[in-house]
Symmetry: C2
């Protein structure tokens, strides 16, 4: 285990910050940040550009210019060593005269997976790996998961009352949580490749599924439906040309995609629910959508959770109690207390009195 | 506003600690702690004894003996100045030669209400009030409320899954939360004058309603029922002589109490629900039970909350999701999102991954 200095941590934090700002713009690539340090000072910065554009390392090297000679590169992911849409970063690092590379995490992409590190070392460059590894892993957890599982990562979010309702008896849900929690949802939208809701949420709430707090992010919009019918007066339909607009239809021939007047229709087949949902997630991965942020409603949320297809769950609790209304989850059959879904690795955040409980769900017998 | 030193705070914390340990043993009296300090050192300590026994100040004075002469008394509540079951504390303080009294909060009891302070001052004793006032108020919030409202304070507790269920579909609820949360419930039981559940909880869970983590506390046990029938094989029935065992019956002639083979039967009348519940709470206050810890089930919890009779709500969330089961609250009619119950003054505590959300519920239009 390499010992890292406080300065090392500081520089890597800067690289992570750059990566985080790029997150949401680089799909299906991971978001990477790079910082070049010469004589204790940052002389170059870079982050992954939109798909097909240069990687973080190359931007940083260009930014540093001749100062990269003899300098140290801090990068949040192992540099690539293969020809993809861009030439390998390892070549550029060597050519620029970088002496030392500090990186957070190895690339799980089977085309890289440690080869980048070995190549750099074979060229006489010092490589230290593992700095702020956990942060770097989490930043691209969708990427790391999807590239191995070959299906899209799913984050599920619901806003619920303290008694677990997502709407009152007449369907009202504005607002269960306060502004701070809602801003947190915007941030979640920003870092995902697509935002998805069920057809009944579309009909009831007519959501925009847009990012309103920052510009330059443009996730795809997905509606789960049993048919092709999408009301023309919805925001989704009227703004269908602003981004990829997808209607996922349970039925038809699986893996079929048809395009009509700006909307993609994805068919997931007639098979059982879990097969259908898995087909959809694999289609999404193949279609360069490695992560999906699902915002309900009850039916969609329940289906994905019940079938073990939610990678991360965010439950935002407001401070209200309704004593009735629409339940957050309604599984086909409620689970017994000793064989339920357990939220692992839970984290809690207080947002102006609202609470965000996050974790990784798992079906467990106790 | 008097300025207090760090030493003052330290001594009052000690007095609060003594009061807290006494809490649960002193009903219907408030739990008070007292510390006597001479030349910077604690020379006497005391806490309220069981009802009818001496007050905290007198115990501390006795503990200090002659060292009380010229010393400072730290006490968490204004000393009493009236003859109750014991002679006034103010007299004892003056007689012992105490020079200065530092206290947290004035006694809201109309028989005292500042008169204790005035009496001490008139005898030439320096009195500083308001140190750690908030903590002292909360410690006896039940007492301060009930003595003014003339009805018992209600704390309602439920343990729920993340989707708001208090049991699975077959009624299983063992265990929704972990050990740390359950210990926290034991602590809540300890500081209340009575523990109450509904008849169906009695039938289903056969709870002991005892304090198992500390000895010397003996809250009354209350069952809400529509009839006198109590199954003989329940812990409640079999251990009815260990403490006051009360069955509250909706019906009969209000304010009637009958006693049969160790059980008190309290009748709250045939009037509407809110009147019945209020009658019960007033009866409890009159019967020297100024605080009640209600632990469910759904019907009882919903009734008290819906009718605005819950003073403090504790919601313990485990880390499970059931996707069905028994809802935490089922009001007669679910409230609309803009006219719901809001939990004010919320506080959050993480207990080994479980979360405790506490607050004061209020029906609010937003």
């Amino acid at each position: 285990m390499t010992a890292f200095s406080e300065k090392d941590i500081l520089f890597m934090r800067e690289a992570l910050k750059l990566a985080n700002a790029a997150k949401g713009k680089t799909f299906p690539n991971p978001a990477v940040g790079a910082v070049i340090v010469s004589e204790g000072k940052i002389v170059g910065k870079g982050a992954t550009q939109v798909y097909g554009g240069p990687h973080a390392e190359k931007i940083a090297l260009k930014d540093a210019g001749s100062k990269a000679n003899g300098a140290t590169l801090y990068v949040t992911l192992e540099p690539c060593c293969h020809y993809g849409r861009t030439p390998p970063c390892t070549d550029a690092i060597v050519a620029a005269g970088i002496k030392k590379v500090v990186l957070s995490v190895k690339d799980p992409n089977p085309l890289v997976a440690g080869r980048g590190i070995r190549q750099l070392r074979s060229m006489g460059i010092i490589v230290n790996s593992g700095l702020l590894r956990k942060d770097a892993l989490e930043l691209n957890e969708d990427f790391f998961f999807s590239i191995v599982a070959k299906r899209a990562w799913v984050t599920l979010k619901l806003a619920l009352t303290l008694d677990g309702m997502i709407a009152d008896e007449s369907g009202g849900s504005k607002w269960i949580t306060g502004e701070k929690a809602r801003l947190c949802v915007q941030e979640q939208r920003r870092i995902h490749a697509a935002i998805a809701v069920g057809k009944s949420t579309l009909n009831h709430d007519n959501p925009q599924l847009t990012i309103r707090h920052k510009s330059g992010y443009n996730p795809a919009r997905i509606i789960f439906s049993s048919s092709k019918e999408i009301p023309r007066n919805t925001y989704f339909f009227q703004h269908r040309n602003e981004t990829r607009s997808i209607v996922v239809i349970s039925g038809g021939i699986p893996w079929t995609i048809s395009r009509e007047s700006g909307i993609e229709y994805w068919y997931t087949g007639e098979a059982d629910e879990k097969v259908q949902l898995t087909t959809f997630l694999k289609m999404a991965f193949a279609q360069n959508i490695p992560s999906i942020f699902i915002e309900g409603g009850q039916i969609v949320a329940s289906k994905f959770l019940e079938n073990g297809l939610v990678n991360r769950l965010h439950l935002f609790y407001g401070q209200k109690i309704l004593g009735g209304g629409k339940k957050s989850f309604a599984f086909k059959k409620g689970m017994p207390i000793n064989n339920s879904i357990i939220l692992n690795n839970t984290r809690h955040q207080i947002l102006d009195g609202d609470i965000l409980v996050s974790g990784t769900p798992e079906i467990v017998s106790t």
